[in-house]
Symmetry: C2
Amino acid sequence: MTSATHETPTPEQYGVGARFTLSVYDSDYVRIILQALGSADATGLTIETDDISTFVTGGEQRILEYLQSVIAAAARSGAHLSAAILLSRGCPGELQCALPPGMRALASAPIELADSGVRARAHWSLYPLLDAGSASSPPADAPAARPAPTDHMAPIYAAIDQSKAEGIYSGSDRYATRLDGDLSAVLQTAANAWIGVGAAVQHVVTHVTVSVNSPTNVDTAR
Amino acid sequence: MTSATHETPTPEQYGVGARFTLSVYDSDYVRIILQALGSADATGLTIETDDISTFVTGGEQRILEYLQSVIAAAARSGAHLSAAILLSRGCPGELQCALPPGMRALASAPIELADSGVRARAHWSLYPLLDAGSASSPPADAPAARPAPTDHMAPIYAAIDQSKAEGIYSGSDRYATRLDGDLSAVLQTAANAWIGVGAAVQHVVTHVTVSVNSPTNVDTAR
């Protein structure tokens, strides 16, 4: 702990990013997925697609704009689709989440997305992580870095209250909160809770499974 | 903390379960998914399917047998599919993960699955959670209940070493470990690490995104 630094890391250095799998329930899925990925603005982002999922890193606002754009483009094909999305911050490595000495939990401004016109339903889970970086190895100059339990629950409750106020909270299922509304509102709620908890906890991950154009929804769609 | 109890909870009381979304990239997806869900043995399990995902609770071995059976049945259609799977333990409620006083982190025997004959590739993440139940509110009789950082990392490393020994470890991508092998070996690796970490940390969640029959894999399939 002799070389403590207080420089603000870039989003990439702090491990800010997304990994998502876009699943299109249609035999024409290759064309629909490639067109959706190709149509989205990738400015300011690093994107890597492999056989399982797509990884995106960059600033929070740009990452979420990209996700919204890809999913909305695929949705406009009319096909039923789901997107399994992981957002992560605070763990730039793989298994070892140690940041350089002196680096603290890094929040960010909330993101804001324009309405997409695409109706989405989602299961959403938020994970403040108990790992060496966040809970057990506070930087030398931050003796109180281990958060009290309410520190990270407060922004989770605030995010859920916010989703209720916006009318997109749709109940609580096992292991997940159900959201229902415009795709942009769904992504914004999940992302801003992830960003908010990130102010108190270094390593925060959120998972969202978004469903669009489900035939199960036809009878109950508002 | 006056009514401490030491009875072992049932898996359902301890919140042991799975939530998964099976995505079939084929216009005949409704038939394939319903047949796969209908063909699997649900003995000993409680299962609820909604418009986004399917929730399963029961013993660990039966839950994983069910997941293997559903995914393998869908895979035998020949369609490309992905399954986004969440396994959770130690948080039976929704947001509040407090267990009755005196209840400790609950491990389980490792699971064991017979080979499925289905080749799977997966991205796998394991989350020991920093919540009130696991990290900050040890039961009154367990003053050392908050694990040292190595307590939960050790089984993670052990699981990865095991996957290397079994030849299914396929590298480390951002936010996820890549597994490649028989569907049963992939699910077994993820589940046994989740169970193993659960011996030291109350609330543990693991996410696995499994890809089967991907056309991207044709050229590189072993």
